[in-house]
Symmetry: C2
Subunit: 134 residues, 2 copies
């Protein structure tokens, strides 16, 4: 349970995968995942009924559209963080591409509990192993 034996360098971790909207599992903290994801273009409107979702922008800039309940969009430049509360429909996007660290309970599905039709470029997943080359 938990723990990584040696530190993980974010630059090396993001160099290990190219696919956007397909989070990698970097570490486990109790029953939570630390996930790393590339954002590029638009994700899909979705909601997590039972969990908040934490975003920290490592590189680039992202936007998160929210139905709060009126639609609004928050902009997260590099080095900023935000939490989408449980039960809030949201759609992340990144016009220019970005690298993002996420914190959420293990098993949380990337497209939530309810979502619009998932486009082909969005991976509906609970996260993939981070395969570091060295």
């Amino acid at each position: 349970m938990g723990g990584v034996n040696t530190p993980i360098d974010l630059t090396a971790a993001f160099a290990a995968f190219d696919q956007a909207w397909s989070p990698r599992l970097a570490a486990r903290v109790n029953d939570y995942d630390i996930r790393l994801a590339r954002f590029a273009g638009e994700h899909v409107w979705h909601v997590h009924n039972d969990t908040d979702e934490f975003f920290l922008v490592i590189a680039g800039e992202i936007e998160i559209a929210l139905r709060d309940p009126d639609e609004r969009t928050v902009v997260l430049p590099q080095g900023s963080l935000f939490v989408v509360p449980r039960g809030t429909y949201h759609k992340p996007s990144s016009a220019g591409g970005a690298q993002v660290l996420l914190v959420e309970p293990t098993g949380t599905l990337s497209v939530g509990d309810d979502h619009d039709e998932v486009p082909a470029h969005v991976d509906a997943t609970t996260g993939h192993a981070l395969e570091l080359t060295s």
Copy 2:
């Protein structure tokens, strides 16, 4: 529960406090805190019996001494992450000073469940409110 209404910029957040070893509560994710802490010099040997502890170095470099069970030290440069497993005695330090993002359950005490004598420069706390000036 959870949520911050607007994004928090890490540069502004760290500009809002100077005290080392005195974590600020930047956000809440379900029953977990996202904490921001300045590291400078040595913390104290301590253990969290029931929780892992996540470290991400935002600026500077830190070291974490571990009794694993033999003593070893991991070095975390800027942009690296590490999880200290529950039950592992550890002592964070930063010779040159650092800014660190932590993830741990709300209520987790900064000096753990068991610790050496806490020096005056270490704040035994479950975290303080982050007071942003603007």
